[in-house]
């Protein structure tokens, strides 16, 4: 499932419309969800602390696993030469200097850039000082929390350039931010399409040994060994049921007591490798 994190509604609105997301009340972080449940959008509020809190809260609330993809989509400042939307390959926290690198495994139509997250709006002087850098207020906070819950290839940041820095908050009105996302919506949607296509990894947990462990009179250690043997059977295409049935026919199972069970486990291993 895709979890999209945006700071404010005006940045989220084009995505909400595009994917026909319905409101999904939540406190303290409200959001929207698609009818097929494949996309959930969460509004974080402005700044890296809120971004961090929203990711952590959502990961806990929605039981986000390492198969899910977390995407931070928003606007940013950039030098006069920077336009469009970018996939972020390096995040620098402007206060601490810490860096974060999402894995760039997936091919999207977006260009790439590094971004610096700052606590106050980047000024025109900031953006002019490093023409190749982008500036935002959430990315490092988003990454700080996201990296605790999902692997780096499941962390994605897409930023649309809305301005060249500003000396006053008033310059950055909702319309400006909304139109930065809207202008680049096709590119952003093409990238989202790629992330939706990424197959979820089938999680193979330990095998459920259930009653079989009883038959072997398993201790905890023996149960773990039995589980591993059954996984090996599954992975190597051998039928453990056939072996176990044979052991039943030979009177080895069910084991009378723990010691007999240990012997039975060794016999299972031996027959498996015959």
């Amino acid at each position: 499932m895709l979890y999209i994190f945006t700071a404010i509604y005006c940045e989220a609105e084009p995505l909400i419309k595009r994917y026909d997301l319905s409101p999904d009340a939540g406190y303290p972080f409200g959001g929207f969800v698609s009818s097929d449940g494949r996309i959930r959008l969460i509004l974080t509020g402005i700044g890296k602390t809120l971004a961090s809190a929203a990711v952590a809260h959502s990961c806990a609330r929605y039981r986000i696993s390492s198969d899910d993809i977390l995407i931070n989509i928003g606007t940013c400042g950039g030098g006069t030469a920077r336009t469009g939307a970018y996939l972020i390959n390096k995040v620098i926290d402007g206060d601490s200097g810490r860096t974060f690198y999402p894995d760039m495994l997936y091919s999207t139509p977006l260009g790439e850039s590094a971004i610096t997250t700052v606590s106050v709006f980047a000024t025109p002087d900031d953006t002019a000082a490093d023409e190749l850098m982008l500036w935002d207020m959430e990315a490092s906070g988003f990454c700080d929390a996201a990296r605790l819950f999902v692997p780096p290839h499941r962390i994605v940041l897409i930023k649309a350039v809305s301005d060249n820095g500003s000396d006053s908050k008033k310059d950055l009105d909702g319309e400006l931010l909304n139109s930065a996302v809207s202008r680049n919506l096709d590119d952003i949607a093409a990238a989202i399409e790629v992330f939706l296509k990424i197959g979820e990894t089938a999680v193979c947990g330990m095998s459920d040994t259930g009653d079989l462990a009883e038959e072997f009179k398993c201790s905890e250690t023996m149960r773990s060994d039995l589980e591993k043997l059954i996984i090996y059977c599954r992975n190597s295409g051998r039928d453990h049921v056939e072996i176990i049935d044979g052991m039943r026919r030979d009177g080895i199972l069910p084991a009378a007591h723990r010691n007999a069970g240990k012997g039975a486990l060794n016999e299972f291993r031996r027959r498996l490798l015959q």
């Binding site: 690198y101 894995d103 990296r147 197959g199 193979c204 190597s236």
Partner: protein, 330 residues
């Protein structure tokens, strides 16, 4: 083919370059060979290489290259599970870390948290350290496959040059690649790892098939290279005896074994810690989930099976080669 196949970037679509590595000629050369790669500047290679929670299996679909300067230890004493081939001063070094091949059983999957590849561009520092050693035998391609990566990094060529300039230093370069041409030198051993097709097709992704590797061995011998053959690690599968007998017969059919320096034989064994990690990463792996025996921090096949595999392989090879030229890891 998976439905998500087209979603992945190509191999080395991204190159992370340490600031300190930017000025090195090898950096320029490697970047020149990857003109379309996205270059990301980093402070230290460990910022990318050692990140927590990486999914090395997913990264195998699109590994990144990291160019760095190694300021740590450059040469190590050989590990006990590695074969010294009777050489007294046995060392190994890692001018690159990780491999572009994708072998299910590879210990690198347990050793590193990532499938990204580090290439250290300060090779001259390695060379300086090795020159300080007395009569060393140095394996340069243990934690990587230098020949497999050579078209990109050029490091195999650099080690050949080093061996040529330092005839007193014995170098071993191990590979699963199938290079068309190799430079013959008396102090440079090319060690080819050979696996039966049944094993290679199931457990060795992106690796040249046996016939290509045998062709490379043939060419190397023809050109006068010192060649070592490695049947290591042998992997247990149903019917292993016939499979490995077939491999040796196939090799003997193609290669003049009398011209091979020596042959190494070893069964799969691995640090128990690495195995634990690999099992977590590969819950469907047949190789990793084998019910191994654990002793002294290493996992290996049960003694009886292990002996049977080793003895069988040595005896089949013994039909073609003197016993004295067959080395085992025990």
């Amino acid at each position: 083919m998976n439905s998500d196949a087209g979603c992945y970037n190509k191999f080395f679509s991204h190159v992370y370059v340490e600031k300190g590595a930017l000025e090195y000629p090898d950096t320029s050369a490697i970047l020149g060979r990857l003109p379309y790669a996205e270059v990301v500047c980093i402070d230290h290679y460990k910022d990318v290489f050692n990140r927590s929670h990486q999914d090395a299996i997913a990264q195998k679909r699109s590994p990144a290259m990291i160019l760095a300067v190694n300021s740590g230890e450059l040469v190590y004493r050989g590990a006990p599970v590695c074969q010294s081939f009777g050489q007294r001063e046995f060392y190994y070094t890692a001018s690159s870390m990780n491999c572009s091949f994708d072998c299910e059983y590879c210990f690198l999957k347990g050793m590193y948290n990532t499938s990204n590849i580090v290439c250290f561009v300060n090779l001259e520092d390695y060379e300086r350290e090795i020159k300080k050693l007395s009569n060393p035998y140095v394996c340069v391609s243990y934690d990587t496959d230098l020949i497999g990566l050579n078209s990109l990094t050029g490091q195999a060529d650099r080690w050949v040059e080093f061996a040529s300039e330092n005839p007193e230093i014995l170098i071993e370069m191990r590979t699963k690649a199938a290079p068309a041409k190799l430079t013959p030198l008396p102090n440079l051993i090319y060690a080819f790892t050979l696996s039966p097709d049944e094993i290679a097709s199931r457990f060795e992704k992106n690796v040249p098939p046996l016939r290509a590797r045998l062709k490379a061995v043939e060419n190397a011998i023809r050109d006068g290279c010192t060649v070592r053959l490695c049947f290591d690690p042998m992997i247990y599968v149903e019917g292993w005896k016939d499979i490995y007998t077939g491999l040796v017969d196939q090799v003997a059919d193609r290669i003049e074994l009398g011209k091979v320096k020596d042959i190494s034989v070893g069964t799969f064994r691995i640090s128990s810690e690495y195995l634990k990690k690999m099992r977590k990463q590969m819950p469907r792996s047949e190789v990793c989930w084998f019910p191994f025996t654990n002793a002294g921090g290493y996992a290996s096949y049960p003694e009886e099976l292990d002996n049977e595999m080793m003895d069988h392989m040595c005896s089949v090879i013994g039909k073609y080669v003197d016993e004295g030229r067959i080395f085992t890891w025990r």
